[in-house]
Structures are given as structure tokens and as C-alpha cells.
């Protein structure tokens, strides 16, 4: 028994080293003076300066942030409505269809999602002249669609756990369904909506494949710019960018963890 738990602990530690070593190396070598990313040449922050002077990266980061913000908001809206309908509504004709469509994007390879949406946009342009040119708009539609699938997973599990008696109480007191939804259900599932929004935001910020398919010549997202840089080999300013992203993500997680524990205490 003792030996087995020792074996488990060692694999556990090694597993976490495996998960974190690459991320740690990105951070360490972002402060490397040398242009050879993996050979230490002394401490320096010059790559961060380089990053700030690179208009292509800054522009792409701004485009990506805008897309992620709008598509996360849309994804949470669609995901919330879909989850509510699936969990709270009695049987309706298109229920199994909706349930299938909201989960399928989770297991669909990105290349297929990207290709199929692009072909749809091209076909629609031929039929009704919209979307005129592809870019931020088409990427937002694509990202909100698969973001909604992830958002729905988070929101559905919260709705299932939620105590339905408060909704019923509100209804018994004469509140109409819309009022019950906005005044009772939404505030209760709010923490799940925040997690879902953050998840959809991150997925959008991270996506290379789908965006590459549905984007037009005008819009390059951050992952597209990083990918074209990284394809040519390692470069230290990408490490600096990675460190900035890791820092922001950690900050976001700390803030949301604090908020979560505070809201738990309030309940």
C-alpha cells in the first residue's frame, strides 16, 4: 500500500512538471539577452521593448481582443438561452436537434468547423451578397458559435444544480416567466455566466485554425501573426508576448478565484 502511494506521488509530481516546465521555460527565456532563445546570455528586458515597438503584433492583439470580447458575449447569450431551453422547458419538437447542435462543436475538429463556415460564407455571399468581405465580422460569428457550445456546458451544469423551488416561488407569487428568468434565474447562475464568458473569451483569443479559414485579407488575429512568426523558428519576442499573456491569465484567475470564494461566503 505504502509503495503504491509512493509510485502515485512520483508520477503525480512528474506529471505536473511535464505540464508546467514548458510554460516556465517560456517565461525564463523571455528575459534572455541572447537572440538564441535557449542559450542563456544574461538578464535583459529588451524583448519586451521590442514587443511594444512591433506595430503588427499590437494591431493584431487589438483585433483579437475586440473579436474575443464580442464573441464571448454573444456565445454566453446563445449558450444561456440554449441551456435554459434544454433544461427548463418541457419536450418540444426540436429539442434533440438543439441538444445535438449545441454539443457537436465540442468534438468537431477545428479544420472542419473552419472550412464549413468559410464555404457557407462564400455561398451566402453568392446568394444574398452578405457577408460582403470576410474579416472581423465572420470571425466573430465563427467564434460565438463554438464558444456557445463551451458556454452551454458550464451553464447547463449550473442550471441542473440550481434549486428550482426559488423559481417556482417567484412564479407562485405572480411573476411572469420573463421576470422570473431575469430577476431570479440569472442572478443565481451569474457566477457560471462569468466562467462561461471567460472560457469563450480565452478560446476566441487562442484560435488559429478557424480564424485562418474564415478571415479575409484585411484582418489578422494575434494567433495568426504568432503562427507566421513561429513557423520561421523560435524568436525571443514571442517569449515576451507569451509571458505577458501568462501574466494576464494568472491575474484573471486570481481575481475570479477571489470573487468566487467571496460569493460563496455570501451564500
Amino acid at each position: 500500500m505504502q509503495r503504491r502511494s509512493k509510485f502515485l506521488k512520483i508520477t503525480g509530481v512528474l506529471g505536473f512538471v511535464f505540464l508546467y516546465a514548458p510554460i516556465l521555460s517560456l517565461v525564463i527565456f523571455s528575459f534572455n539577452e541572447s537572440k538564441l532563445v535557449t542559450v542563456w546570455g544574461g538578464f535583459s528586458t529588451k524583448w519586451y521593448g521590442e514587443l511594444l515597438r512591433d506595430p503588427q503584433i499590437l494591431e493584431a492583439a487589438w483585433v483579437s481582443a475586440k473579436i474575443a470580447f464580442v464573441s464571448a458575449s454573444l456565445a454566453v447569450t446563445i449558450g444561456t438561452v440554449a441551456s435554459f431551453v434544454l433544461i427548463r422547458f418541457a419536450k418540444f419538437r426540436t429539442k434533440s436537434l438543439l441538444s445535438m447542435m449545441i454539443t457537436a462543436p465540442l468534438v468537431m475538429p477545428e479544420v472542419i468547423i473552419g472550412l464549413s463556415l468559410l464555404l457557407l460564407f462564400v455561398a451566402m455571399q453568392g446568394l444574398i451578397g452578405w457577408p460582403g468581405n470576410r474579416g472581423i465580422m465572420t470571425i466573430i460569428i465563427a467564434h460565438s458559435t463554438f464558444g456557445a457550445a463551451y458556454a452551454a456546458v458550464v451553464i447547463q451544469s449550473r442550471l441542473v444544480d440550481m434549486d428550482m423551488s426559488i423559481e417556482e416561488a417567484a412564479q407562485d407569487l405572480g411573476a411572469k416567466p420573463v421576470r422570473v428568468f431575469f430577476d431570479v434565474t440569472l442572478p443565481v447562475i451569474a457566477p457560471a455566466l462569468v466562467s462561461a464568458w471567460l472560457l469563450a473569451f480565452t478560446l476566441s483569443l487562442d484560435d488559429l485554425v478557424v480564424a485562418s479559414f474564415v478571415s479575409g485579407p484585411g484582418a489578422s488575429t494575434l494567433p495568426m501573426v504568432i503562427f507566421s512568426k513561429v513557423r520561421l523558428g523560435v524568436s525571443p519576442d514571442v517569449n515576451a508576448l507569451a509571458t505577458v499573456i501568462i501574466g494576464l491569465v494568472s491575474l484573471g484567475i486570481i481575481v475570479s478565484a477571489l470573487q468566487m470564494s467571496r460569493s460563496k461566503r455570501r451564500l
Binding site: 535557449t38 440554449a82 438543439l98 484567475i253
Partner: protein, 318 residues
């Protein structure tokens, strides 16, 4: 949750009760409207696109905008349909595609197995940890997932390349004299897939193992079974649905993976996601790319069904 028809939320829509009544007549009053929003969105932007792909896979490539010939068109008031199965025949004839499918399944399968070997002990360890530590450990598993996927794959270039971290370390210790070639090999692709998708393996395994009734293990031990026997005959079979769910969650995206083989694989690492990408972006052959996608979907039907079955089995157990 039913409202009397004349007091439904639709009567509060802008435009007053009249529009509300018209919408209701169309089956779109209140409840129907709420159902329609996500359903129509997903129909338009998820389901119909697949039909478009299926249609274009049956067309012929052309130098035009868009670069394919129409499958059907009206000529002098007659509908003429030109179905072209040539793309699928081409996939069968050219050994490149068949070997890319086989190679993708092989690489995804091996990576899934390695991820299971690493993920199972980790999930088991977390499930057996004191309750107050479990959430922290789970968060540590999920955290890397929140940082950019692309940048995490990029980090492995620095580890695996000829003058990278691993080779520098091994040469410094004197274990090897000249750098090992690891980058741009299938080995690098395995590592990249295992690394990127390990959380997807651990989470369903954990969810399953944490529910495992300890008394079965005690009963088995009381009856004289050694830990290894108990593990093989009790724990492993009971966690089967978690294993299947975890494996499919790694296998399915790995088959269609593009970024990992593009960054870590060599020029001869043929994975089907990469082939589709090249057909589309380099060759601009949209019909062939569509046919590749449709065949990929068929390859994934069985894994997706296995996943659904395992997930519903797990839900039934809880």
C-alpha cells in the same frame, strides 16, 4: 412554465400585442421565440455549413471565384445537376490521402495511449487526495489550458530543437556527444498532442474515479486480493466509462490536429488536418478539401458515438 397565451411575454414585444399575436400564430410566441434563437443560429452556422461542404465535395474544381463549378444550375428553365464523385475517387486513387488518414489515426491512437498512461495515475492520485486538496490539484491540471495553446506548442520547439533545452542539458551532463534529432519527428508530435490534451484525459477520469466506492476495494482486499489484482479486476473495469470518455476526448481532436504537426512534425508527418489545410490554402482545391473533410467526419463517427455512450453511462451512474 406555461403562460396563458394572451399574457405571454410576446405581448410585451415592441409593437404591442398585435405583433405578439401574429408571432404566436407562427409558433413564435414567447416560448417559441426563445427556442428559435439558439436553434436558428446553430442551424445556420453549424448544421447548414456541413451540407454546403457535402455539396461542394461533389463539385469540380475550376479557376474561378469561388474556385469550383456549380453542382446544380438553371439552364433555360431546366435544372441541370452535375454531380462529380471524382473527388472521392481521387482520394482513393492517390496513396497520399489514404496514408494520411492511416497516419493520423496511428499518431492520435499512440498519443491517446501515452496520455492515458500519464493521466490515469494523476487522476487517481487527485481522486484519492484529501478533499480540501482536490480542487487545488484539479485547478493545477486545468490552468495550462487557459494559456495560449499555440504558445504552449511553441514552447516545445525550444525544448526539442537541436540546440534546445533537452539537448543542451544532456550534452552538458555528458550523456550524449551530439544533439539528438527530436524536433520535426513523429516523436515531437506525440509529445505535443499528449501535452496539449492531457487535461481532457484527466478530467473525465477524475470525475469517474472520485465516485468509485471505496468499499469495493476494501472487500477485494479483505478477500485476499493483492493491490495489483484489485486494481486490474475492480478499479479498472469500474472506471471503463471514464477511460473511454478521456481517450475519445484526446483522440477525436488529435485526428484532425493541424497546429501540432505543422509546428513540431517533419515534412513527412502527414496528418489529415494538415493535408486539408494545404489543399485549401496552397492548392486552392476547395472540392478536394471538402471531400477530405467529409471522409474525416465519417472516420470520426465511431469515436464520437463511443464518447456519447461513455458520457451518458457516467451520467446514469451519478
Amino acid at each position: 412554465m406555461s403562460a396563458a397565451p394572451d399574457t405571454g411575454p410576446s405581448s410585451r414585444l415592441p409593437g404591442g400585442p398585435m405583433i405578439g399575436r401574429v408571432l404566436e400564430r407562427l409558433g413564435l410566441g414567447g416560448r417559441g421565440l426563445v427556442i428559435a434563437i439558439p436553434t436558428l443560429w446553430l442551424l445556420l452556422f453549424f448544421l447548414i455549413p456541413f451540407l454546403v461542404v457535402a455539396k461542394i465535395s461533389l463539385s469540380e474544381a475550376a479557376i474561378a471565384r469561388p474556385p469550383y463549378l456549380p453542382v446544380w444550375e438553371w439552364v433555360d428553365g431546366v435544372l441541370s445537376v452535375n454531380l462529380n464523385f471524382g473527388n472521392y475517387l481521387f482520394l482513393l486513387e492517390d496513396p497520399l490521402y489514404l496514408s494520411a488518414y492511416i497516419e493520423s489515426i496511428k499518431i492520435a491512437g499512440i498519443s491517446t495511449f501515452i496520455a492515458l498512461l500519464i493521466g490515469y495515475p494523476m487522476a487517481y492520485l487527485i481522486a484519492r487526495s484529501p478533499e480540501n486538496q482536490r480542487n487545488l490539484l484539479l485547478m493545477l491540471v486545468v490552468l495550462p489550458f487557459w494559456t495560449s495553446f499555440l504558445l504552449r506548442v511553441y514552447a516545445w520547439i525550444g525544448f526539442l530543437k537541436a540546440n534546445g533545452i533537452i539537448n543542451n542539458f544532456l550534452m552538458w551532463t555528458g550523456i550524449i556527444d551530439e544533439p539528438l534529432i527530436m524536433l520535426q519527428t513523429d516523436f515531437a508530435v506525440y509529445i505535443g498532442i499528449v501535452y496539449s490534451y492531457l487535461p481532457f484525459m484527466i478530467l473525465p477520469l477524475y470525475a469517474n474515479l472520485v465516485k468509485l466506492d471505496q468499499s469495493y476495494l476494501e472487500a477485494s482486499a479483505d478477500l485476499g486480493a493483492r493491490p495489483a489484482t484489485t486494481f486490474l479486476t475492480v478499479t479498472l473495469p469500474l472506471s471503463a466509462s471514464g477511460i473511454i470518455a478521456g481517450c475519445m476526448l484526446v483522440f477525436i481532436p488529435a485526428v484532425g490536429e493541424f497546429v501540432i504537426p505543422a509546428l513540431l512534425g517533419g515534412p513527412d508527418t502527414l496528418m489529415i488536418g494538415r493535408v486539408l489545410w494545404d489543399e485549401f490554402f496552397s492548392n486552392r482545391d476547395w472540392p478536394i478539401a471538402s471531400a477530405v473533410a467529409i471522409v474525416m467526419l465519417f472516420v470520426l463517427v465511431i469515436p464520437i458515438m463511443l464518447l456519447r455512450k461513455a458520457q451518458s453511462a457516467d451520467e446514469g451512474a451519478s
